[in-house]
Symmetry: C2
Subunit: 255 residues, 2 copies
DNA sequence: CGGGAGCTTGAGGGAAGTCAACCGGGGTGG
DNA sequence: CCACCCCGGTTGACTTCCCTCAAGCTCCCG
């Protein structure tokens, strides 16, 4: 559990959300005031059950979470990965019902923000509206890249690409991280990539035997990022993402 | 070519964009004033080439278009289908560079709106900002459903689901259309569904032989929508999409 | 009338799924 | 405190869905 000031501090930090460049300092403070209690979740716990109504968006503070859909026969497809600082259910910013579920992949902490209040704030402060829109566009960008993976890439490339993406997303503003915590099971990886756990296992073995990745417990290390990017045909441009000239968007223009 | 008043009229009509419920009448007028010349495209023409910079978003007036990505070996994955009234490149609302391409699937007409001017308008009119955000969320919703198809559904179900989706999206506010123009090639369908043209052909044959669809030239007819939905495990909830209480968003609150 | 784009079908191959078994480790309950 | 159990990882054998390559077809358009 975090106290309120920690939460504020977190939201002011360089999270994907605030990195959008749309949020002025007052915007961040106003958002921080909306934050409810931080909730702790066990691994595999639903933050928002599939297909239900919810009145809040969840900002992930710690741990990994995902958006997923389930087919009638029980197969699960993960349609989005949330890392610390990401909003898990951006759709709930405008829609009362989610057409997916949000579940944690690890132990996790998240704070809920009430839709009504966020909307009201966004109507007053264009910077906040802009930040939400920007995040939604970013999520769309990532999902488009996943669709390319799912539709047109081999299992081998899919896994390589996913690892590259996470490396970049965790690396923040710096270059991609060359070593990081990799706390997801092979089943969960398969659910992101449209593969079975068995085939994910074999594919990870192939990547390891090629020396492209080194897995040590819950850590993954990338000996040569260039090699891995090339193997996965990965181009991180879709994650680059400084906003296009947020002139006229910043709330400071109204201050 | 449409003259300006036709364009205005079109934008005031029940397009997916204006149906969001965020646009007040003045918002629509203000947007219509931004519309540039309507451009006519041949089938298979790039509206925005893959990965380039663009300074405008394109509202599709007539015909079908798509967003796509290409892998190194030339395989194409379509990551979004634009029908009349849709915006083809919502990302360009905030990002100068697209990480996909936009191309027409049929003859088509589109009008470009300059990003700078749309952004300026959105900063003044929350209804316009809200409509863009809402469209982006809607696009995300659809792409999530495609990811489920790509990752976890058989070719048979993918095709059935796509036809259901188009029926609903073309049907507008009414029920899904039971018969409509289906102007795309099997190659293009395959590119949406992550299949080869050959396998798309066989799969369509299967659907036809089961009586789930009837193809007559460029028309498709769905004898029994319930059957097709069931075959494709299709639940159209993700397209439903009235906005969640756009209170406080409507520009009229500022009028 | 010729040519190309799109549709159709067949035969064979390969990537990933399915089923099954075994192993190691950490949590838990007796 | 130890034994058990369950979860996750690993590997093998077999199956299946979809891809590849190839050929022939129709229809439109020049």
């Amino acid at each position: 559990m975090m106290d309120n000031s920690s939460r504020v501090e977190f939201m002011l930090a360089a999270t994907p959300f605030s990195r959008s460049g749309f949020l002025a300092a007052e915007d961040k403070l106003a958002l921080a005031e909306l934050a409810g209690e931080a909730r702790a979740f066990k691994a595999g716990a639903d933050v928002v059950a599939e297909g239900v109504d919810t009145d809040r968006v969840y900002l992930l503070i710690d741990g990994w979470a995902c958006r997923y859909k389930t087919s009638r026969d029980g197969a699960r497809q993960i349609i989005g990965l949330a890392l610390p600082g990401d909003i898990c259910n951006l759709d709930s910013f405008m829609r009362p019902r989610v057409n997916f579920g949000v579940t944690t992949l690890t132990r996790a902490t998240a704070v809920g923000l009430q839709r009504d209040r966020v909307q009201a704030l966004a109507a007053e402060r264009p910077g906040i509206a802009g930040a939400f829109t920007w995040c939604t566009i970013q999520e769309n960008e990532i999902l488009g890249e996943w669709a390319l993976s799912l539709g047109r890439h081999s299992a081998y490339k899919r896994v390589a690409r996913l690892i590259c993406e996470v490396a970049v997303r965790l690396g923040g503003e710096h270059a991609a991280a060359a070593s990081f915590e990799w706390p997801v099971t092979q089943q969960q990886i398969g659910d992101m990539l449209g593969l079975t756990a068995v085939h994910t296992n074999r594919t990870l073995r192939d990547l390891r035997s090629e020396g492209l990745i080194v897995i040590d417990g819950r850590q993954v290390r990338i000996p040569d990022m260039t090699e891995l990017r090339s193997a996965g045909e990965f181009d991180g441009a879709y994650l680059d993402a400084g906003p296009a000239s947020p002139r006229g968007w910043s709330s400071s223009a109204f201050g």
